[in-house]
Assembly symmetry: C2
């Protein structure tokens, strides 16, 4: 526990927010978005529409300057360990047969967002689509324009009051307010508290935890919640139940930033588990314009790591052979900057691809149902066995 | 509100538990399971193993008497509106080459469950599988035997302390305890409380609600939670986010039984929405032995019903054409006892299949983002427009 305390202290003394793009003096310019208040979004939209109106009155018609979100305009910046968007953009003209539809959709989405921000309510992308099916035709079109609008206005999608559906749950040594309600996550039974879809309603985080335990799957979360693991090792336990959703990513980042705690990742020992860590840390490609707000820097890979399989003598029968697809995914990941920058992570993935073996967190159950909470994690934490 | 109050009163005055199989004097015998305490499960397992030991000592070898869970042994009983299991069973002999493996697996599962019930901890099916991968080979085998063991011991799967992963959330006028923690669902922000995987840790439900609103999807749940709909219409709002999971079904049933409140279903107007209501009400085929504990009788279909599409003038663009598969599913459902027994439900489904149109709850957003919470539901409830 002394070592975790030291790590925790180091984390709290460190300047946590140095990793801004502006500090780096990079050769490119970048497009990044920020969390804006509903009022600021309203103002930005009104500016945008006023400019269009002036342009029309001046006889020039109108168009929107839309940042490009294509992969050619994306880049991984190792210094900040995130995928970000370069500053290429193009004008979406109304008076152009190839862009008239998209310009009309953009205008309509701006109007809808304006309404949401004035009313201060949140909706899903699906709700947004249904407000004008005739124009949008399919949800892919309104979704894409929504991301364009984020980039145009320079704000996160959450600032637009369009939220993703929630999957995540949290339990442990965390108290926060949600829409005015005080939530104590040590008093959330074994099921935990559902992470809300709208992060802007979350505030006043307090905690006496020493670390955050980020768990890939529901089953491991359940085990730890039922055993009230956070009472023995003061921590906050969080899971998105598989693929990280936007709400859980925002919540994790907010915890890390507000509480200044180290984050330990507990995932399956397979390329997919590593992919999940990478989404939490470096972001996903299609939301690279918002990577700053969605990513949590410096997650430690606690386990289950490929080297754990022999170290903890996971029985042969509990190891699964990797499929051809798994091996291909693993090999592709070896080429990714995200892995290459860390020799220890690289070595682990290399070992996985070489042994062609994977294992789930549940494989630890072969030593007893509570091996995870009573042996594996305490040992890992005491031995500082994270990379 | 007066009408809902009357319905609520009727519900509370009614004998809620009259629908037992035993009361019906039916020609078949049935196999049903009950919630047993961990101690009782331990006793049942010990009895079972003692009988096996005696049989071995008497020179007869051993076997287990396992109820058949095949569809030939399942029947829908209209009087209680559930699928139940008839009493056919067969002996699983150890000294028979065709059943030796399954008998060994059954013995091992009994041993593992014994251990779980003594320790009073809960695990997932996946955890159970991993405790002896060599014997079980694949999870399908341990899962199937787990259901056999439920039937053999005459207890629910939850009583075995093997739980499903949770997906559901609840918000509104409900207070309950979970593993000793007091949870007030009016103070759960906008994200709500995650429904716990283990219903046996849930107790002391209290509520001043007039009804329970069962919502198919997350987006509608979010809308109602953010608008704090339960403050205007005193209710409890619950969703499993799509396909009902076991934890949410158990939780809904417990609310209905303990609080004696009417339940209103809000689902998409498509065969899948109706299917979801049917799973909550009548159970799913593969868990028919436990239909009593998993089903919630008498859910009212509030909406979105096929007749609502014209009544509420849902724009043409927000209605979707049914696919061939949808139409086939709809036609098949018209043949099901569950639908046939209620002429109003039958008429609605017939209309859906005839018009070949479906619509999601979100289609209501075409009238404004808050149309669902501010117009549609209040109108439905005031006009008693449920069937």
């Amino acid at each position: 526990m002394a070592t975790i305390r030291a790590l925790c202290r180091a984390e709290q003394e460190a300047k946590v927010e140095p990793r801004s793009l502006a500090d780096l003096n990079l050769p490119h310019a970048f497009k990044e978005v920020a969390d804006l208040s509903s009022n600021s979004v309203v103002t930005e939209i009104e500016k945008c529409i006023l400019a269009a109106a002036k342009s029309i009155l001046a006889g020039h018609g109108f168009g929107f300057n839309v940042p490009s979100r294509s992969s050619a305009n994306q880049i991984y910046v190792p210094e900040i360990d995130r995928i970000v968007l370069k500053d290429k953009s193009s004008v979406r003209e109304f008076a152009n047969s190839s862009s008239v539809r998209k310009t009309a959709i953009t205008t309509r989405v701006l109007q809808l967002i304006h309404q949401l921000c004035i009313k201060q309510i949140h909706v899903t992308k699906r709700d947004l689509f249904y407000t004008d099916v005739k124009l949008f035709q399919d949800q892919g079109q309104s979704d894409a324009v929504l991301d364009d609008v984020s980039c145009m206005l320079g704000c996160t999608r959450s600032s637009l009051n369009v939220v993703a559906s929630e999957k995540g749950v949290v339990v442990g040594r965390l108290i926060f307010t949600e829409d005015g309600d005080r939530i104590d996550c040590t008093k959330m039974g074994v099921g935990g508290k559902a992470i809300p879809p709208n992060i802007d309603k979350v505030g006043d985080m307090e905690s006496d935890a020493l670390f955050i335990l980020l768990v890939e799957k529901d089953a491991a979360f359940m085990r730890l919640a039922e055993d009230r693991f956070y009472n023995r090792f003061p921590c906050v336990i969080v899971t998105a139940k598989g693929q990280p959703d936007v709400a859980t990513r925002l919540f994790l980042r907010k915890m890390k930033m507000d509480l200044k705690l180290p984050v330990f990742g507990l995932v399956d020992s397979d390329p997919y588990g590593l992919k999940i860590l990478s989404v939490y840390m470096s972001g996903s490609k299609n939301m690279s314009y918002d990577s700053y707000n969605l990513t949590t820097p410096d997650i430690k890979w606690l386990g289950v790591r490929p080297s754990d399989l022999n170290k903890y003598k996971i029985p042969e029968q509990c190891r699964l052979p990797m499929t051809d697809q798994d091996i291909k995914t693993g090999k592709d990941m070896l080429e990714e900057d995200f892995i290459k920058k860390d020799p220890k992570w690289y070595a682990e993935l290399e070992l996985m691809v070489k042994t062609k073996e994977k294992a789930e967190i549940q494989a630890l159950s072969s030593f007893g149902f509570q091996y995870l909470s009573e042996v594996y994690l305490p040992m890992k934490l005491q031995e500082k066995d994270w990379i």
